[in-house]
Symmetry: C2
Subunit: 449 residues, 2 copies
């Protein structure tokens, strides 16, 4: 055994405790059910990748945050920075996969960022992505929109909408205003900061970058078109005429909105937002982002878009691709903000205890009989004074205290006391599920396994 | 975008594809249901730990395999090597957690090992642990045994048993044979190799270490006692007399077996195996290991034991602890060996396609109606010749091809063709679940969420 060391975490990392993880796992299960219902299959990639696989994909700011690891033997490794680039490596190495290939992936990623625990930003966090590779159809993008829509809804959030835009339409807006094609990335990067610095901030930054005032104002004016998607499309078409990029963007958006509605996404949750750019360099077509409605400045719950060029970087046939990412921690934060987070520090429903006249074996047997009904039971092995048992159950925040005395054992019953309400019932052990359900008034987990 | 690089994996790592992951996720879900039914709560720790947190815990052989990472700023980091040591750091840093604290944890670990892909050994793999901290009761160990028992059973494996032994009993056997206490670790390490090198190999190694022949043979003879647990205990007691360590070990084993049976573990799946040592240095009490019966040399599906000293390394009040680990990849391999692995390359049940006279919108609407019934549907957006559609569905290994023609759309039906049997049925879209079930004869996933 080693010398005692100070137990501590590496800066910017954290432990995730049961209250958060029980909620996150429930969200994850809801999302995975939706993903697989749309035909997305699970995939995992290793944490460590050769550094050169990751370089040149995330833009100058992103690249600084790649966790580079010097490994003995001189090999230069990196920790997974996102899920998209490793996935493109998988597609390049496995050309035999039947296309379109649809995959979901939920794994941690690492960023050598200045951690901001107060804002919930850590050096390790979970990403949750779905992507379709090998189809140029707007139906694949519409399925991304439908998947996030159905997924967020399944997590219990109703007041949200999916903002949609198109990179070709954005290019059309920029070019038709008279701004040079070479400035496109700069313009998009500025407009992406709209939520943070406001419209005048965006205008100031664009002018500071050397854009002339008139074209800049023309771009910002078109982006400001509001209304339902068909109105925005009509007005944009009127103002942009037959500019080629704009025409392609608008036509694809029309297909995308039609397909999303056919997939059952209600119009009220779809918005064509011409300000939306999404930060990353690699998008080539539609982009989307999920935001809460009725909640200001909350940021996005997820987003994505089409990136037809990224998958081609390793050579070979082109692989058009489109994907969407859901921010698990953002969904958790949203549920908390909406007061809908079911936060429990333990999965246990009953804290099962015994009086001094009951043997350990009888206690364990009762626990087994309860578990066979699908009830989650934590057993307290030692017999103790009733007051002590109450305190223990309360400290553990298990909703129901189960008390087993000698008379209960003889009768095949157990006393169940709801700690919140103080209500107490005698349950027949073999059918305790119904009694428990009536006591806590929330449905217990299904019997199984 | 960067220069093209050769897409490749870091040596000893791998991508995990849908066929394996769908099976592993199903196993994981079964296990987690069992874990939580016993009151174990989920916990996660970060991948990166300060190196000194991990040093001195895994023995000289293990320590060599810690993934040490030189990070800029001179800080020396390491990747998680197992789940137990990071968990002990969590317990040391969070003294307010109500004891006993029961947690499950499923996360990857990394070992700088010589990878042996043929034997399924990689540098990154998943560990799956449950531990109880803060109780000295043998009931906690019995719950570990019951959890692995119920868990393995829930995964669909029936022919297995849990081998159990006790480190104090082993010490008693060694001391009463006249071997010095200082040689204990060496003896255990040799005996641990029994499955690999056989009894004569173990004997040779012990003699080579300088153990005298007579005590060595005495130890090996006692370890060879066979029979059901009570017979082995009685015979061991007879031979070891009142040697203190043996007496403590035997008495705790008696409690453990009684408690495991009270928890519903059938006697036929419990074995007292006096050869069992478990490799790790930190065990102090009972140890257990799950093995297949009727299958030679398969190795273990998991194992664990009590480690009352490890959690104390950071100072403070002692924290008795006991835990068990299930090898997810071992369980997968066992299911494969037993022909029970449900291996599918995609979650999709229906590959939904359309004839030339059906619009994309009608196709997407039908997919949505099917998904609303809980059916997993992959939609093929383009209309193609029937032959081509068959080929695509077969390549994707989706069991049922759904064909939507103009007449089906008018009638609100869809043609479902089982690719394995060739059987074809017309299903009313709104109630396609039953038709699908009759076609594939295996239950479809439940409707919901």
């Amino acid at each position: 055994m080693a010398e005692p060391v100070v137990p501590r975490l590496f800066q910017g990392t954290r432990d995730v405790f049961p209250d958060e993880l029980l909620a996150r796992n429930a969200i994850q299960a809801s999302l995975v059910t939706i993903f697989e219902r749309y035909g997305f299959a699970p995939l995992e990639t290793p944490a460590m990748e050769h550094l050169d696989i990751l370089l040149g994909k995330y833009g100058p700011e992103g690249e600084k945050l790649i966790y580079k690891l010097a490994y003995k033997g001189g090999e230069v490794l990196a920790l997974r920075y996102d899920l998209t680039v490793p996935f493109s490596r998988v597609m390049a190495m496995n050309r035999e996969l039947p296309l379109p290939f649809k995959r979901w992936q939920i794994q941690p990623v690492w960023r050598a960022d200045r951690p901001q625990p107060q804002q919930g930003r850590f050096r390790e966090f979970i990403q949750c992505d779905v992507d379709t590779v090998g189809s140029e159809s707007m139906a694949a993008d519409a399925e991304n929109v439908a998947v996030v829509h159905d997924g967020i809804l399944a997590c219990g959030i109703e007041d949200f909408r999916v903002k949609i835009n198109h990179r070709r339409l954005l290019r059309g807006i920029i070019l038709s205003a008279g701004i040079a094609a070479t400035a496109e990335a700069d313009v998009l990067r500025c407009v992406d900061k709209l939520d943070k610095i406001g419209l005048s901030g965006v205008r100031d930054e664009l002018l500071a970058l050397g854009m002339p005032a008139t074209p800049t104002d023309r771009v910002l004016a078109i982006m400001d078109i509001e209304g339902d998607p068909s109105e925005v499309m009509a007005e944009a078409k009127r103002r942009l005429g037959d500019q080629e990029d704009a025409a392609v963007g608008l036509s694809e958006l029309e297909e995308l909105f039609r397909a999303a509605m056919a997939l059952g996404v209600p119009t009220k949750r779809l918005q064509l937002d011409l300000h939306l750019t999404r930060g990353l360099d690699y998008y080539t077509g539609p982009v989307y982002e999920v935001v809460l409605t009725n909640t200001d400045n909350f940021g996005s719950l997820g987003g994505g878009g089409r990136y037809n060029d990224l998958m081609g970087i390793y050579g070979g046939a082109p692989l058009p691709a489109t994907g969407v990412s859901i921010g698990l921690s953002r969904v958790l934060a949203a549920l908390q903000k909406l007061g809908k987070l079911d936060s429990r520090p333990t999965p246990s429903e009953i804290f099962l205890t015994r009086m001094a006249d009951v043997s350990l074996e009888a206690l364990l047997q009762t626990g087994t009989a309860l578990r066979a009904q699908g009830i989650a039971v934590e057993t307290h092995y030692d017999s103790e004074k009733m007051k002590k048992l109450f305190e223990r159950a309360e400290r553990k925040k298990i909703p129901v205290l189960g008390i087993l005395g000698g008379s209960e054992v003889s009768a095949g019953t157990v006393t169940l006391k709801h700690l919140g309400s103080g209500q107490q019932l005698t349950a027949v052990v073999a059918s305790a599920r119904e009694t428990l359900a009536s006591l806590i008034r929330t449905p217990t987990r299904p019997a199984g396994p």
